[in-house]
């Protein structure tokens, strides 16, 4: 009679490998490759908008072959391959490689976290590790920043990830302020009204949250006004530079002046001050 179990358990050659174990080996390998393919497709999709194409493909391949190798290692015992020697050798090699590539792996993991957490994006104006500029590229191992002077700076991702990141454009709007001094004899209410009118006319000085202009303190040389203005985060600098001069000009047109530093000097004895015109002197 035809006995299937006997055939499946029949040893093939001298290594004690049966058809069963061969089938198991193939099955584990096929399942492993399928999982690797599935995971790599999803990794590719997830990184579609986050990574440049070459780095995305590299990472996808790493994931694919990583899972496939794990599947192969899981399947090899079915062929009576003793992995203990391989594991010992692999372990030692792993420790050596691990020490050698510690910073690379650390940067890689930090890069992945940066891509998923997304505290910064390409084009954002940021400050990280005392470097201020706009983000040119976020790569797997490093982040490239172009400073406002146009200088290229590459920062390892680990440093970016573990540093305090200030992203100036992460929010849609941001506030900036001015301190403007006027003379004591000037009308502060009029100055506030003029400043508010100028701000109101600027398209990108946001209507809401509304700007705020108020007398902040009475200084040594004049009355100090503080101006708070909200602007779109990506346009705040041009609003800031544009408005200050417009406010200054509007003040001047209305007879309000920015005070010079001044000191009142008292003499214990009255002194004569002789005023002579320039014509007389000639």
């Amino acid at each position: 009679m035809f006995n299937v179990t006997a055939i499946l358990e029949m040893p093939l050659g001298a290594g004690g490998i049966t058809i069963w174990s061969l089938l198991y080996f193939t099955l584990i390998l096929v399942i492993g490759v399928l999982i690797a393919r599935l995971v790599s497709i999803n990794v590719r999709r997830a990184l579609m908008d986050r990574l440049p194409v070459n780095e995305r493909e590299l990472l996808t391949k790493l994931v694919y072959y990583g899972i496939a190798i794990v599947a192969l290692l899981a399947a090899l015992p079915q062929l009576n391959v003793d992995l203990s020697g391989l594991l010992v050798a692999g372990g030692i090699a792993g420790i050596v490689i691990g020490f050698a590539s510690q910073s690379v792996i650390s940067n890689l993991i930090s890069g992945l976290f940066l891509m998923f957490e997304r505290p910064i994006r390409i084009g954002d104006n940021i400050n990280v590790s005392d470097v201020t500029g706009s983000v040119e590229d976020i790569r797997i191992l490093s982040t490239v920043i172009k400073t406002f002077d146009g200088i290229y700076i590459r920062i390892p991702n680990e440093k970016v990830f573990t540093s305090n990141i200030t992203n100036y454009v992460h929010n849609v709007a941001r506030r900036f302020s001015y301190q403007i001094g006027i003379r004591y004899q000037d009308d502060a209410d009029l100055a506030i009204r003029i400043a508010k009118d100028v701000i109101e006319k600027h398209p990108f000085a946001l209507r809401n949250p509304s700007p705020s202009v108020f007398v902040d303190n009475l200084g040594d040389n004049g009355v100090n006004l503080t101006v708070f203005i909200w602007a779109p985060a990506r346009n705040w600098w041009e609003v800031r530079t544009d408005l200050l001069w417009k406010i200054k000009r509007a003040f001047e047109e209305n007879g309000i002046q920015i005070p010079f530093p001044q000191r009142t000097v008292w003499f214990p004895e009255r002194i004569e001050v002789e005023q002579r015109s320039a014509v007389e002197e000639k």
Partner: protein, 234 residues
Amino acid sequence: MFGRYRGTFRSESGEILIEVEEGDGLLTYRRRCGEDKFERILVTRMAEVIINPVEPVNLPKDITNFLMIEFPPLMIEPGVSSTVYLKFPVEFGVFVESARDIEVADIFAPTTQKYTLYGTPTRGLIARWYGSEVYSEIPEVDLYREGVMEFTITNTYREWVEVSRVVFESVDMKIYYGDFVASTATMRILGPNLAETDFIDAPPRPGMVKSIELYTARKISALNRGYLMEWGLS
């Protein structure tokens, strides 16, 4: 001034002048709007220039797709639907068209602009702001400065709701022109701070001409999905 022009032309209305002149075998597009001037040389066999109102979110530069209209507060009864009229700002779009392609040549407006934040600085959005009264009938408007929006509000919420602002995604905006510039929009109130807004592709009066949209001319594909106002209605 709105319409389609072929070859050289000159169109002037108040402070706005638009012309295409020929000189030295070249066509020159020239525009003046108040103090603001713009000029382009058109390298073409026979330029076809189209001037029509466009989505009013492009000036002084393109920073958002959203338009907010603020108006005196309206209290709306549960289950009630009502149509009122609002005013919105007009921006001129000038397009150059050939047999194969259409392109935006110029955008300008005789009015000033103002922007605002809708929502919070962290999660909100920047929108072009415009203030309007609420009208029960189509109001008188300056054709080149303001348009009329036929605005239908429906309160599907179970309580009275106060509304004093509406935010639209301009990608969905359909503009028509004739004696006046017009658009038709809806607002469906879903909760005290939640509403859906959208535009309807139909003029408030028959016989009006449909404007070429900037998004069509710029070949930007966009889904008409309306906008969900999540950060309050007043």
